[in-house]
C-alpha cells in the first residue's frame, strides 16, 4: 500500500513522458478491491525482480528497466485504460494478470504489435503462435493444469479413473469455464463422471454448491477459483467434511491467502503450481542484499517467498530472459516490442540457466518457438501443511496429455483465426 500512490504517480508521469532509452515493462496490477490481496503479492514479486536486476546488474544489457504501475482493480475496462495509458511510453510487454483483460488486449496488442505475456492465465489456445503472434503463455496454461490434475489422480488410482466421480467448482466467468471442455474430453478418455458447479463471483455464498457436493459425493473436487471464492470453498468443503487431500485447486486457487483464513481445517488441501515456492532458493540472498535490506522492496518485502510473490517474480524472470535474448538477436540493447517478440520465440530457459539465476528446479525448462508460445505445459502438485503454515511440493513436474490438448488448441485457435481473419504463419 505504501508505495501505491508514489508508484501510480510515477507511472502516470512516465507514461506521459516521451520515450526514453529505458526498457519499459508496465505492471498492470491490482492492489485494491475484492482481488487486491492476491494482486498485491503478485505485483510485488514482479516489481522486486526488476529492482534486483537494476540494483545488482544495472538492468538488462546495460539498460535500466522501468516498471510503471497502473491499478486495474481486476476490472477489464480499467485494465484496457491502463494499457492505452501506458503503451505510448515505450512499453515492451504486458502481463495484466487477468483473463478478462487479456481477452480484450489480444486484438489490441496484435494491432499495436506489443507482446502479451500471460503465464498460467488468459486465452489457452494462444499457445498456438502461428495464430497468436503476439501472445505468450508459457510455461503452462489452464488446459495443461486440468490435464496435469487428472494425470495426478490417475497416478493416485493406479492409472484407472473409470467409475470415479470428479466435480469442478468454478468461478462463473471466462476464466472459470476454461477447463470444462478439456475435462469433458478427459472424462471420456478415462471413463470418469464429470460434473461442473458454477459459483457466481465474488463467491462468498456457496452453500448450494456444497450441499450438492455432499449429496453427490464426488471422489474428487477440482477448483478453478479466485479471490474470496477460494477461501469460502475450502471452508465449505471442510464444513461438509470433504477430505482435503481429494480437493485440488488450480494455480490460482493455491496460495497462502486461500488457505490461511480457514486455519487447521485447510490442512492437506492440494493445488497445482508451475513454479517453486518458499525462500529456499539462492536468488533470495541477492534479493535480500540488493532489494529488501536497502528498503527498495515493494511493500517492504513482506510477502517475499509466498506463492503469488514467487509467481510474479517468475513472470518477471521469463520476461527478463526474453529481453536479454531479444537484445542478443537484435544486436542492440535498446529493443523494440517486435524484437522482444522474436526474443520470446527464441527463448530457452534450461535447468542450468535456472540454476545460474539462483532458481534451481524452480520451474520447468521453457523452450518457445514461432509455433509454440506455451512451452511444455508442465506443472506440479503442492499440498498445504496447516501446522507448518507452508506449501510442500509433492510431485515432480508432470507433462500434460498433449494427445488431448493438441487438437483442442488447434480447433480453438483455428476458429479464432477464421473469426479474426488471421492467416496462420510459421
Amino acid at each position: 500500500m505504501k508505495l501505491k500512490f508514489t508508484t501510480l504517480a510515477a507511472g502516470a508521469f512516465m507514461a506521459a513522458a516521451p520515450a526514453m532509452a529505458d526498457l519499459v515493462v508496465p505492471n498492470l496490477s491490482y492492489r485494491t478491491g475484492p482481488y487486491g490481496a492476491n494482486g498485491t503479492q503478485y505485483a510485488d514479486g514482479f516489481n522486486d525482480y526488476f529492482t534486483l536486476l537494476n540494483e545488482r546488474d544495472g538492468g538488462i544489457g546495460g539498460e535500466t528497466i522501468r516498471v510503471p504501475e497502473c491499478e486495474t482493480a481486476y476490472n477489464t475496462e480499467k485494465g484496457v485504460e491502463c494499457y492505452e495509458a501506458t503503451k505510448g511510453g515505450g512499453a515492451l510487454v504486458y502481463n495484466p494478470l487477468s483473463t478478462g483483460i487479456t481477452y480484450q488486449l489480444i486484438p489490441k496488442a496484435a494491432a499495436d504489435q506489443i507482446p502479451l505475456y500471460t503465464p498460467g492465465y488468459g486465452r489457452t489456445s494462444a499457445k498456438n503462435g502461428a495464430v497468436f503472434e503476439w501472445v505468450f503463455n508459457a510455461p503452462a496454461n489452464y488446459w495443461d493444469g486440468a490435464s496435469v490434475a487428472v494425470k495426478y489422480l490417475l497416478d493416485e488410482n493406479g492409472g484407472d479413473l473409470s467409475g470415479k466421480k470428479i466435480a469442478l467448482v468454478y468461478h462463473n466467468s471466462a476464466y472459470g469455464k476454461e477447463p470444462i471442455r478439456t475435462l469433458e474430453e478427459l472424462a471420456e478418455k478415462h471413463g470418469f463422471t464429470f460434473s461442473a458447479l458454477p459459483i457466481d463471483p465474488p463467491g462468498q455464498e456457496q452453500k448450494s454448491q456444497w450441499l450438492q457436493t455432499r449429496r453427490d459425493r464426488p471422489d474428487y473436487v477440482l477448483m478453478w477459483g479466485w479471490g474470496v471464492m477460494n477461501q469460502t470453498a475450502i471452508q465449505e468443503a471442510a464444513n461438509i467434511r470433504f477430505p482435503m487431500e481429494n480437493f485440488i485447486g488450480t494455480y490460482w486457487s493455491g496460495s497462502e491467502v486461500d488457505v490461511q483464513p480457514v486455519g487447521a481445517a485447510a490442512n492437506g488441501y492440494k493445488a497445482l503450481t508451475f513454479h517453486g515456492v518458499g525462500m529456499d532458493y539462492p536468488i533470495y540472498d541477492d534479493m535480500k542484499q540488493y532489494v529488501i535490506d536497502p528498503g527498495k522492496a515493494s511493500q517492504g518485502g513482506q510477502f517475499v517467498g509466498s506463492v503469488l510473490y514467487s509467481r510474479g517474480m517468475y513472470a518477471a524472470v521469463v520476461i527478463a530472459e526474453a529481453i536479454a535474448k531479444a537484445q542478443e538477436l537484435a544486436g542492440t540493447s535498446q529493443i523494440t516490442p517486435a524484437q522482444l517478440r522474436d526474443g520470446f520465440e527464441a527463448l530457452e530457459i534450461s535447468a542450468e540457466r535456472l540454476e545460474e539465476l539462483g532458481l534451481p528446479d524452480f520451474g520447468p525448462a521453457i523452450t518457445m518457438s514461432c509455433e509454440n508460445h506455451g512451452g511444455s505445459g508442465m506443472a506440479r502438485v503442492q499440498q498445504w501443511d496447516a501446522t507448518e503454515r507452508k506449501w510442500t511440493l509433492i510431485t515432480d513436474f508432470t507433462e500434460p496429455d498433449q494427445d488431448v490438448l493438441g487438437p483442442l488448441i488447434a480447433e480453438d485457435s483455428e476458429a479464432y483465426a477464421k473469426e479474426a481473419g488471421i492467416e496462420p504463419r510459421c
Partner: protein, 327 residues
C-alpha cells in the same frame, strides 16, 4: 423420499443463509427509517468494523505502512493481543466515534438537501472508508476468530440420521448467526419500543418536522442511528468475516441485502428479517430444483427476480410504509 429430505435440508440452509442476508439488510433499514437516506456505505461499514476488530484483537498498529514510510520505522504490531469481548467492545466504541464524525463532517452540512444528495454522499463515504480501511489495516486477508464454531453440527446430523435415516447438514456458524440475529432484533425492537431514545428515533422516522417541534435533537438521533447501524454492521462483519476471512470483498455483501430490502421494505425491521428468509429460501430452492436445468449459478440473479416479482404486487415491499403523495 431422498429428494424430500434434500429439499428440506436446502430449505433449512436457505433460512440460515437468509438470516445472514438480514443482518446486512438491518443496517440499511435503521438508517433509511430514521433519516430517509439509503446508506450505500453499509457494506463498507461491515468491512471497516471487521477490519478494525481484527486489528485491535491482533494488536496491529493502525496506519503502520504510512508511519513506516514517513518515519523509516518498522512497526507492525504492538506485541499484545486483546481478548475477543474487549476487542468487540472497543470496535463498537470506534463505530460510535465514526457515527459522530459522519454526522459532524458529512450529514450536518447536508441538512435539508434532497435524498439523492445524501445518497451520493454515502457513495463518497463508502469509497473513503474502503480506502481508510486499507491504509489503516492493510489489504491482506485476515483471519477472524472470536470463538464462534464452524462446520457441520454433529448433533443435528446424528439426530436427523437417527430419526429420518438421513443426516441433515447445518453449519454451526449459521446456527449461531440465527441466535445472535434473533437477540439483535429483539434488542432493537425493545430499544425502539421501551426507551426514550428509541421512541425519539421512531418519532423522527415518522415525521422530522414534528419531532423537531417537540424538542427532539435531529443531530443526536442521527448519531445514535448511525451508531446502531455501525454496531449491526459489526455483527454482520463478524459473521461474514468468520465465514471467509476479513477481506475487501466483504463490502460486496451489501449486494445480497438489496433484494432483501426490495422485498421486505426499506423501513421495516421485521421486513428485513422476513425478506432475508424469503430470499434465502427462495434462491436455494430455485438453485436446487431449477439450477441444474439451466447450468446453475442462479442465486445472484434469482434473488433480484424474486424481489421484482414481489414489487409488482407490493411496490413498497412486504412490510414497507405505503407512501401516498398528493399533487
Amino acid at each position: 423420499m431422498d429428494q424430500l429430505f434434500f429439499a428440506a435440508e436446502v430449505f433449512l440452509n436457505g433460512l440460515m443463509a437468509g438470516v445472514m442476508y438480514s443482518l446486512v439488510a438491518l443496517g440499511f433499514v435503521l438508517i433509511f427509517k430514521a433519516s430517509g437516506v439509503f446508506n450505500y456505505a453499509q457494506g463498507v461499514l461491515a468491512l471497516f468494523a471487521a477490519l478494525t476488530l481484527v486489528g485491535i484483537q491482533q494488536g496491529q498498529v493502525p496506519f503502520a505502512h504510512l508511519i513506516n514510510a514517513m518515519f523509516g520505522t518498522n512497526l507492525h504490531h504492538f506485541g499484545w493481543t486483546v481478548p475477543s469481548i474487549l476487542a468487540i467492545a472497543l470496535t463498537a466504541g470506534i463505530m460510535v466515534l465514526l457515527a459522530f464524525l459522519i454526522e459532524k463532517l458529512v450529514l450536518q452540512h447536508l441538512v435539508g438537501q434532497e435524498p439523492i444528495i445524501l445518497f451520493m454522499a454515502t457513495i463518497g463515504l463508502a469509497y473513503f472508508l474502503e480506502g481508510m480501511g486499507d491504509v489503516m489495516w492493510g489489504a491482506d486477508i485476515k483471519t477472524l476468530d472470536v470463538g464462534l464454531p464452524q462446520g457441520i453440527s454433529d448433533t443435528v446430523e446424528t439426530m436427523t440420521a437417527d430419526w429420518l435415516g438421513y443426516g441433515f447438514f447445518l453449519d454451526r456458524l449459521d446456527i449461531w448467526a440465527t441466535m445472535i440475529a434473533a437477540l439483535l432484533v429483539a434488542a432493537l425492537v425493545a430499544f425502539a419500543q421501551y426507551t426514550k431514545q428509541g421512541r425519539a428515533m421512531r418519532a423522527v422516522a415518522d415525521d422530522h418536522q414534528a419531532a423537531l417541534s417537540v424538542g427532539i435533537s435531529l443531530r443526536f438521533i442521527w448519531v445514535m442511528v448511525w451508531s446502531i447501524a455501525g454496531f449491526v454492521a459489526l455483527v454482520a462483519g463478524i459473521m461474514w468475516g468468520t465465514k471467509s476471512g476479513v477481506q475487501f470483498s466483504l463490502s460486496l455483501i451489501a449486494l445480497k441485502a438489496l433484494p432483501v430490502l426490495m422485498l421486505g421494505g426499506f423501513t421495516s425491521i421485521p421486513g428485513a428479517i422476513v425478506g432475508g428468509l424469503i430470499i434465502g429460501v427462495g434462491e436455494k430452492l430455485f438453485e436446487f430444483w431449477i439450477g441444474p436445468l439451466v447450468g446453475g449459478a442462479t442465486e445472484n440473479w434469482f434473488a433480484y427476480v424474486l424481489a421484482l416479482v414481489f414489487l409488482v404486487f407490493r411496490p413498497q415491499g412486504l412490510f414497507g410504509e405505503r407512501i401516498i403523495e398528493r399533487v
